[in-house]
């Protein structure tokens, strides 16, 4: 029964989830040939530029690399803060 449970809901402590998360980060740096420091700089610069136009939530800011067949893409997820009294 526990087994079924684990399979349906995905055990979070399953070691393969740890492996996948670690790989995600490692490959992120490998693919971009970007050191963690450079990445941090890139993120900060992005925040700086975009903040000139929008009020963004730099807590939830996420940058990712993804590979689609032959090409690489940089994917940034930038949550915009809700302005008081206005919905976006």
């Amino acid at each position: 029964m526990f087994d079924l449970f684990a399979r349906v809901f995905g055990r979070e402590d399953a070691s393969k989830e740890v492996a996948k998360e670690r790989l995600r980060l490692v490959l992120f740096h490998d693919r971009a040939s970007l050191s963690p420091q450079m990445l941090e700089n890139l993120k900060n610069d992005l925040v700086k530029v975009i903040s000139q136009y929008l009020d963004i939530d730099d807590e939830g800011f996420k940058v990712d690399f993804s590979r689609h067949d032959d090409s690489m893409a940089i994917v940034a997820n930038i949550p915009i803060k809700k302005k008081a009294g206005r919905s976006l």
């Binding site: 393969k16 492996a19 032959d70």
Partner: protein, 267 residues
């Protein structure tokens, strides 16, 4: 005109040589004319995995340097009629003994005579890799479901792209269904998702591979071996057949799996 396929991985010990031997034997069983090139100069292994080590006279470097004709250097595997041949690596030289251009010429000339030329790539990303990849039309990347292997495979996929070798395909080797079930091993979908390449096949972890390597008999020759069956399927896919990836149950598959096995049902 034949097709040249390089079997590569980045990381050592993940099953390139085993895969080259078994796909080659599988294609030869299917009636194709196949040549295997051991490009792992200095660490020759394909000969022992194939059980042909006692028949080596000349090697890859001798052929490239013109000291032996290709026809003379090729070792015929008598178990496969006139269908399977091996060009062994030199054992006392190193990767710099041949150049990518020389490899390209050699492989091109062999494609005139064989339906398939399979190239067993050494581990690493240096010249040995560049040599092995140079003459290939397509690449097969072997990876095991482990962090280090997947990472190296990812790097190799990037380097293949840089060498203008597009659309590599993936063989996941040494899958252990019981561990996958427990969530302690990445499954096929995890691997495809991370590496973002097409799947060519899945080979279970199989003790019989050790037995077959002990004997120098490719696993495809054994009808009981699950890995052998997986490799036969891969060979048929390379021939354009549409064969679904085999369902991997737990090693013994419980009483049901054993029963199915006894009845000779296809996994």
């Amino acid at each position: 005109m034949g097709e040249a396929i390089v079997i590569t991985s980045g990381k050592g010990g993940v099953g390139k040589t085993t895969t080259t031997a078994n796909i080659g034997a599988g294609l030869a069983q299917a009636g194709k004319k196949v040549a295997l090139i051991d490009a792992d100069i200095g660490l020759r292994n394909l000969d022992v995995v194939m059980g042909l080590e006692n028949r080596i006279v000349y090697d890859l470097v001798d052929v490239v340097e013109g000291q032996a004709k290709l026809k003379v250097a090729l070792i015929k595997d008598k178990r496969f009629n006139e269908n399977l041949f091996l060009l062994p690596a030199a054992q006392t030289r190193d990767k710099t003994a041949v150049s990518p251009a020389q490899m390209r010429d050699l492989v091109d000339s062999m494609k005139g005579e064989f339906d398939f030329v399979l190239i067993d790539c050494p581990a690493g990303i240096e010249q040995g890799f560049k040599n092995a990849v140079a003459g290939s039309d397509r690449a097969v990347v072997v990876a095991t479901p482990e962090v280090s292997s997947v990472r190296d495979a990812d790097r190799i996929i990037g380097l293949l792209e840089a060498e203008e070798k597009h659309n590599p395909s993936l063989i996941v080797n040494r899958i252990r269904p019981s561990m996958v079930k427990k969530g302690d091993m990445m499954d096929i979908n995890d691997m495809i998702e991370i590496l973002a390449i097409d799947l060519l096949g899945v080979v279970p972890d199989d003790e019989f591979i050790v037995v077959s390597t002990n004997r120098g008999e490719p696993a495809v020759l054994n009808t009981q071996s699950r890995a052998g069956e997986a490799y036969r399927n891969i060979a048929r896919r390379l021939l354009g057949e549409n064969i679904p990836v085999m369902k991997l149950e737990e090693e013994n598959g419980g009483i049901f799996g054993r029963l199915k096995k006894m009845l000779g049902a296809k996994g």
